[in-house]
């Protein structure tokens, strides 16, 4: 009887475990200034959690998305991270839309030991390497190096840097200054503009009057770079113009108009999904994501939603390989991610590199006849 009882108890327990959902924790900036990043990220996570559940879940268990909106406030993100870890007892966390939110969550996550995939941009998230923190999304360092490589290839040695004064531009400026010498390039002019400025002519006039400038590198986000591009045309500057990874959208071409012609910018393959050749290794994943997202939400994809996709599936794959949601094992499997092809490029994690992308993950695009094409 006792043995039967134990067997019964074990049977009941294991079926209870089987029905227990795997909890996916998430803190995103769905409202506030960073909402344009957080909104597509949340939509992507909701979509794929539903998808996986329709396909029978993960390890035979359903997934449950536990999401909190930090309102773009890093201090709120910290409180919600605590809640995810201590109260909801999530199995892993995807999110932290901004660098500030992510970094405020990191101390808690490191202490508690929960696999964490950040969606933030800056390189400080993964440098120095933190045991539980990963981020398979592009960084400003990669963007800077990718642009500088292209400049070097074209024999450019003296450039002007124009960056915005918000977090994105300032972090990008710092990274560019850090690596520029490695490519034998000197910054002969180094200017900034406010992200809400409606005119950057004074800075550009100064750049035009600086002797020896061979190209202009704009590190900015949103409408600022479009205004800068227009001003460049208005001032009759004919130097090559490079943008970082904040502008590769149709919106930019609409805003900048004919001035956008010939401008170069970085973007993940996702932004040129329909123009990728069939031979491109990213073609299947990118097309599938675009189809799923635009089908469900009736709006254009952005690289941020794409990053949510990549980071989410890296953990999902890690859980599958680990065959358990044991945090230590899942973490090890995330670190062992090799040749994962996502919307943002090929990810190869190592113990020393918790980002796993190289600079070639960003494509160099060029505006030709009013549309983005991959630059040759």
């Amino acid at each position: 009887m006792t043995i039967g009882g134990i067997a019964l108890a074990i049977g009941v327990m294991s079926s209870a475990i089987a029905a227990d959902p795997i909890k996916v924790g998430s803190v995103l900036s769905v409202t506030g200034p960073a909402a344009f990043l957080g909104d597509p990220e949340l939509k992507t996570l909701q979509m794929y959690v539903d998808d996986l559940n329709n396909q029978g879940g993960l390890l035979g268990r359903p997934l449950q998305l536990v999401h909190y909106d930090d309102g773009s406030d890093a201090n709120k993100a910290n409180a919600f991270a605590k809640r995810l870890i201590e109260d909801d007892k999530v199995d892993f966390i995807v999110g932290g839309t901004t660098t500030g939110s992510t970094m405020s969550m990191v101390p808690l996550i490191e202490k508690a030991g929960v696999p964490f995939m950040s969606l933030a941009g800056a390189v400080v998230v993964v440098e120095p390497v933190k045991k539980w923190v990963f981020k398979a999304s592009t960084t400003d360092r990669i963007a800077a190096e990718r642009v500088l490589t292209d400049m070097k290839k074209h024999g450019i040695t003296k450039i002007a840097l124009l960056s915005d004064t918000a977090g994105f531009g300032q972090s990008g400026k710092a990274q560019t200054e850090l690596v520029v010498a490695k490519y034998g390039i000197t910054l002969v002019a180094n200017e900034t503009y406010g992200p809400k400025d409606t005119d950057a002519s004074p800075q550009l006039t100064k750049i035009r009057n600086t002797p020896g400038v061979e190209a202009i590198f704009v590190f900015g986000f949103g409408q600022g770079p479009a205004i800068v591009t227009k001003n460049i045309k208005q001032l009759g500057i004919t130097l090559p113009v490079y943008h970082a990874h904040g502008v590769g959208s149709e919106e930019f071409i609409k805003l900048a108009g004919p001035a956008a012609e010939g401008v170069r910018a970085l973007a993940p393959a996702l932004m040129i999904a329909d123009k990728l050749p069939n031979s491109d290794p990213q073609k299947p994943v990118v097309s599938a994501y675009v189809k799923a997202f635009e089908g469900r939400w009736k709006e254009h994809v952005s690289m941020f939603g794409g990053q949510a996709h990549d980071n989410f599936f890296i953990v999902v794959d890690a859980v599958k390989r680990a065959g358990t949601v044991d945090k230590e094992k899942v973490r090890d499997q995330i670190e062992a991610t090799k040749k994962y092809i996502g919307t943002g490029g090929e990810v190869n994690m190592t113990a020393a590199d918790h980002m796993g992308l190289d600079m070639w993950s960003l494509r160099m695009l060029e505006v030709k006849n009013g549309a983005w094409v991959e630059a040759q």
């Binding site: 769905v30 909106d69 809640r83 109260d87 970094m103 300032q170």
Partner: protein, 310 residues
């Protein structure tokens, strides 16, 4: 004497029992944040509720304390305790420096001036990226005292509790001292206060400095407790949040400050599951509070049940 401290004893009992009732670390974290906010709101209520002055930039002082505790130990190797004191001194001096010109203003103009002060602090924190990490913020080393690192939530709970108890005790005594009576006097009528010999400017400056120091100290505690600071600690929204706590809890009420801080710290967490509707629900609750209890929760309830003045 016993009646004066009755509320204090109640708070002490709640603080002592609470750790045994809460189910997990998240609620302990929430309790600590409530305690931190309660001390700040207490200081702010001395200024707004008792002295009748307004500060729309109070989060700026929290920012000063928080970033003093983050920047000085990280970049200059200061001991965290020295950094905490330095932050409080800096916030206090800044308050004293600007108080004289600012308190020549009244009403809307005073609100505007203090608002500007808070915004300036926020801009400095955002732009001095070399030291403050800019808009992304920076990590804070743990607080050490006599060689021990204070890094467990339990420790912080008791530390914040002690600070809270001392603050409540000090506030009660302050308000019943000649200083407190003078403050209430100038709240009622500055001219009348002046006529009976109260140095109005001196008292206003003193209370402003005091509440700035309260805010700065708790900013430092927040920084060490959370382990991370970002300039959003010092932004306008945070200042408004604190004023809301004062108003909802009850102006010129020591225990109103506590109730306001506790409620408004818990509310966003309670509403977080509403997915997109939390701000709407938050707004509706505030509007209802103000319509039905314009004096704030504690004074309204106290008047209804027994009319005891605390």
């Amino acid at each position: 004497m016993i009646r004066r401290y009755l509320g204090l004893y109640v708070v002490a009992v709640i603080i002592a029992v609470l750790p045994f009732l809460i189910p997990n670390g998240f609620y302990l974290d929430l309790a600590i944040r409530m305690g931190i906010n309660a001390v700040i709101v207490l200081g702010l209520n001395l200024l707004i509720g008792f002295a009748g002055q307004i500060s729309m930039g109070h989060a700026g002082f929290i920012g000063i304390g928080a970033f003093a505790s983050a920047v000085l130990p990280t970049h200059f190797g200061w001991h965290p305790f020295v950094a905490l004191v330095a932050g409080a001194v800096l916030a206090g001096s800044l308050a004293a420096l600007v108080a004289r010109p600012i308190f020549r203003l009244k009403g809307h103009y005073l609100a505007m001036a203090t608002l500007g002060l808070g915004i300036i602090v926020n801009i400095v924190l955002r732009n001095e990226a070399k030291y403050t990490g800019g808009p992304d913020g920076m990590p804070v080393p743990p607080f050490t005292l006599f060689g021990f690192a204070i890094d467990s939530d339990k420790h912080w709970y008791w530390i914040v509790s002690v600070i809270l108890m001392v603050s409540v005790w000090a506030s009660i005594n302050l308000m019943n001292s000649p200083f407190g009576r003078a403050l209430r006097g100038l709240h009622g009528s500055e001219v009348a206060a002046q006529v009976v010999g109260v140095n109005v400017t001196r008292y206003k400056v003193a209370i402003f400095v005091m509440s700035a120091v309260f805010a700065s100290l708790m900013g430092s505690v927040t920084a060490h407790y959370v382990g991370f600071v970002s300039p959003s600690l010092a932004d306008f929204g945070h200042s408004i949040e604190l004023i809301t706590m004062v108003v909802v809890g009850g102006m010129a009420s020591v225990f109103g400050s506590l109730v306001g801080a506790v409620l408004l710290t818990a509310l966003p967490q309670a509403l977080a599951t509403f997915e997109g509707w939390e701000t709407v629900a938050f707004g509706v609750i505030l509007i209802l509070c103000m319509i039905f209890m314009p004096k704030g929760l504690v004074p309204t309830l106290a008047a209804r049940f027994g009319g005891r003045r605390e």
